[in-house]
C-alpha cells in the first residue's frame, strides 16, 4: 500500500458557518474532531496486558501470552488473544474470558428460573426463558396430578394442554444443558409449577444476584420470585409462602411445600405421603386466580413492581433487602404511577444505595 497519507490533526474546533443553502447541515458548536493522525498514540491497543476488569471492545488484542486459556468472548490467532465482545476482562486462574456488558441469559444447571410456555409438542413444552433459545420442559420431568409415583401414560400426552398450555407462566429449575447450550427444565418439586395471582416483570438477567433462595416474602403480604433469568414474579403471599417462612414443627422433609398455591388441607405440618397426593391434586394446574385478593394487595404488588423497575433502571443488583428498602423509600410517593418517572426512579436508586451503606450490611455478594 502506498504510504497511508497521514492527515494533519486539526487543533481548534471549527465553527461551521451555516451555509445559506439551508439543507446543508449546520453544526452545533461542539468541536468536530476531524482526522486524527493515523500513527498517533490513540489508535493501536496498548502494548501492555489489559488489566482485569478493564474494558475491551471487539477485535482488541488482550494478551500475547500463550499461557492463558481462552474462554467466552475471546478468539485467538497463534498465541495472541483478541476480544470478540465489548465487556470487561475476567481472569480466573489462567482462564481468560470477556464478560459482555449486556447479553441474554445463559442457563446454568440448577438455576431457579421463571418462564412462559410458548409451544406444546410431542411429549414436551417449549418454554421462553429469555435466553438465546427456548428451553425444553419434558413431560417426564413434571409433577402430575395424583402424586409423584404415577407412571406417565399415553393419555397424559393427550392432556398436556390441561396441565400447561401456551401463555402459562411457571417457575422451574434447570435440570441439564444440551450440547448447544439450551436448557432442559424440571418442576419435580412442590416449590415449582404454574404461577398465578400475580404479575410478571422482566429485567436484564445480569441484575439478579444469584443466591440460595429466590423466593422471598415481602412486607405488605406480597411474595417475590426472582428468576435468575431476569423474569420476576410478584404475587399475594399464599399460605404456602407463610408455611415456608415459619420453621415447620413437623419433620421438615426435603419436600417443602411449594408456593404453587396447592392448598394444604390440614394445617398440621405433618408431612405424609398421602398428603402429598392430596396436594398434587388438580389444583396445582388450575388457572383460577384467588378471588379474595384485596385492592390494597394489588396496590402493593404494583408498587413493588415499579420499585423493581426503578432498581433495574439504575442497574442496581436485585436482592431481597434492596427491594424492601426501595419499597420503604417509595412510600413517600403516594401515587404509585409516579414511581416510573425518571427522576423518581433515580432518587429511589440513590436512597437504596445510601440506606444500604448506612446500614453497613452492604450487598450480600
Amino acid at each position: 500500500m502506498s504510504d497511508v497519507i497521514s492527515v494533519i490533526k486539526r487543533q481548534s474546533g471549527l465553527k461551521y458557518a451555516s451555509i445559506d443553502n439551508d439543507e446543508m447541515e449546520n453544526f452545533s458548536s461542539d468541536e468536530d474532531v476531524p482526522m486524527v493522525d493515523i500513527d498517533g498514540k490513540s489508535n493501536g491497543g496498548k502494548r501492555n496486558e489489559a488489566a482485569a476488569g478493564e474494558i475491551v471492545t471487539p477485535g482488541e488484542l488482550i494478551t500475547e501470552d500463550p499461557i492463558w486459556m481462552r474462554g467466552h468472548g475471546t478468539y485467538f490467532l497463534e498465541n495472541s488473544t483478541y476480544s470478540s465482545a465489548a465487556g470487561t476482562i475476567s481472569r480466573v486462574n489462567r482462564l481468560l474470558s470477556v464478560i459482555p456488558l449486556k447479553g441474554r441469559y445463559t442457563p446454568e444447571t440448577g438455576d431457579h428460573i421463571v418462564g412462559r410456555i410458548t409451544d406444546v409438542g410431542n411429549k414436551r413444552w417449549k418454554v421462553d426463558i429469555g435466553g438465546k433459545q427456548h428451553a425444553v420442559l419434558m413431560l417426564g420431568s413434571v409433577n402430575l396430578p395424583g402424586g409423584i409415583l404415577r407412571r406417565k401414560s399415553e393419555s397424559d400426552e393427550l392432556q398436556m394442554r390441561t396441565f400447561l398450555k401456551e401463555g402459562d407462566v411457571l417457575n422451574a429449575e434447570v435440570q441439564s444443558l444440551f450440547q448447544d447450550g439450551s436448557a432442559s427444565l424440571h418442576t419435580r418439586s412442590l416449590k415449582y409449577g404454574k404461577l398465578r395471582d400475580g404479575l410478571l416483570i422482566q429485567v436484564p438477567s445480569s441484575l439478579v444476584v444469584r443466591s440460595k433462595n429466590h423466593t422471598h416474602n415481602l412486607p405488605g403480604n406480597v411474595t417475590v420470585l426472582l428468576g435468575v433469568n431476569g423474569f420476576i414474579w410478584l404475587r399475594k403471599t399464599s399460605k404456602m409462602d407463610v408455611a415456608r417462612e415459619t420453621p415447620s414443627a413437623g419433620p421438615a422433609s426435603d419436600i417443602s411445600e411449594g408456593p404453587t398455591g396447592a392448598k394444604s388441607l390440614n394445617p398440621t405440618n405433618s408431612v405424609s405421603i398421602t398428603r402429598l397426593e392430596e396436594e398434587s391434586s388438580w389444583k396445582i394446574y388450575s388457572d383460577k386466580n384467588d378471588p379474595s385478593i384485596t385492592p390494597s394487595i394489588r396496590q402493593n404488588i404494583s408498587r413493588y413492581a415499579n420499585v423493581i423497575k426503578a432498581l433495574a433502571f439504575c442497574e442496581i443488583g436485585l436482592t431481597h433487602e434492596r427491594i424492601v428498602i426501595g419499597y420503604e423509600a417509595s412510600i413517600a410517593y403516594s401515587n404509585i404511577g409516579e414511581l416510573i418517572e425518571r427522576e423518581v426512579m433515580e432518587s429511589i436508586g440513590d436512597d437504596v444505595i445510601n440506606i444500604e451503606k448506612m446500614r453497613g450490611n452492604g450487598a450480600t455478594e
Partner: protein, 246 residues
C-alpha cells in the same frame, strides 16, 4: 440553480470542510433497551439512523432454524420523509433497497461468529430517519454499534465510509450535493486492518485514481472506528461504575 463550486480552489467544500474531514459523527448505544437486544442511534452529518438488533433468539419460522449456525436477516426501512422532498412511493421492495440489504447481510455474515449460536436467528432492522449522502456507509456503522451493544460475538468492527472523487481530488464522507455531483465509492473496512469487507463503486472512476481513493477511504474508516470505539468505552465505563456499586 446557479452553478456553485463543489470544491473551491482554496480547498473548501460546500459545508466548509476540508477534503479529508469527516462529518459530525455522534453515536449512542442502548437507546431502545426495551425494544431490542442491541440498539444504536447514529448521526453522521445529517444522516439519522436507528438500528435495532433482535437476537440471537428463537427463529420465528421453524423452517429457518439452521442446526450449524445462526441465520440472519436484514431489513432496511427508508422512511418517505428521509429526503428533502417526501418520496411518493414507499421504498419497501425497491431493487436498490433489496441490493443494500443483501450486501449488508453478506458483510456481517462473515464478521459475526454465527457458529456460536446454532438454531437461533439474528434479525437486524434499520430505520433511516434522515439521509444526506453516504447512507450506505452510515448503515454499516449503525449495525456494527447495535451488534456490539447486543453482546453478539464478532471478530472486529466494520466501519463504513463514502468517498467522492471530484475530477482528481478525493473528498471524504460526501453529502447529498457532493454525491449527486461526482462518482462515489463506499467502503466497509475491518477494524484497524486494511481489509475491505465491502466495496461498492456506483459510477465511473478512472482506474488509476481508484487506489488513492481507497487509501483515503481506509484512513477515514479507521478514524470512524476510533470514534465508535471511544463512545463504546465511555458507555461501558459508565455501566461498570454503576455495576460496581451493586
Amino acid at each position: 440553480m446557479s452553478r456553485f463550486e463543489i470544491y473551491s480552489p482554496e480547498g473548501l467544500r460546500l459545508d466548509g470542510r476540508r477534503w479529508n474531514e469527516v462529518r459530525r459523527f455522534e453515536c449512542s448505544i442502548n437507546t431502545h433497551a426495551h425494544a431490542a437486544d442491541g440498539s444504536s442511534y447514529l448521526e453522521q452529518g445529517n444522516n439519522k439512523i436507528i438500528t435495532l438488533v433482535k437476537g440471537p433468539k428463537e427463529p420465528s419460522l421453524r423452517s429457518q432454524a439452521n442446526s450449524l449456525k445462526a441465520t440472519m436477516d436484514v431489513s432496511v426501512n427508508i422512511t418517505r420523509f428521509s429526503k428533502f422532498e417526501r418520496s411518493a412511493i414507499s421504498h419497501k421492495n425497491e431493487r436498490r433497497v433489496l441490493e443494500i440489504q443483501t450486501a449488508l447481510l453478506r458483510t456481517f455474515e462473515k464478521n459475526i461468529m454465527l457458529h456460536l449460536y446454532p438454531r437461533t436467528q439474528i434479525s437486524i432492522q434499520v430505520h433511516i430517519l434522515q439521509q444526506d449522502g453516504g447512507m450506505f456507509a452510515s448503515l454499516i456503522n449503525g449495525i456494527t454499534l447495535a451488534l456490539i451493544d447486543a453482546g453478539i460475538a464478532m471478530y472486529d468492527y466494520v466501519s463504513g465510509i463514502s468517498i467522492g472523487l471530484f475530477d482528481t481530488t478525493p473528498l471524504l464522507d460526501v453529502n447529498t450535493l457532493e454525491e449527486n455531483a461526482m462518482s462515489t465509492v463506499t467502503l466497509g473496512v475491518i477494524g484497524k486492518s486494511e481489509k475491505l469487507s465491502l466495496l461498492s463503486v456506483e459510477d465511473k472512476i478512472p482506474l488509476d485514481r481508484l487506489e488513492s481513493v481507497l487509501a483515503i477511504g481506509i484512513a477515514g474508516a479507521h478514524r470512524l472506528r476510533d470514534l465508535m470505539d471511544e463512545e463504546l468505552r465511555k458507555h461501558a465505563h459508565k455501566r461498570v461504575i454503576k455495576a460496581s456499586t451493586k
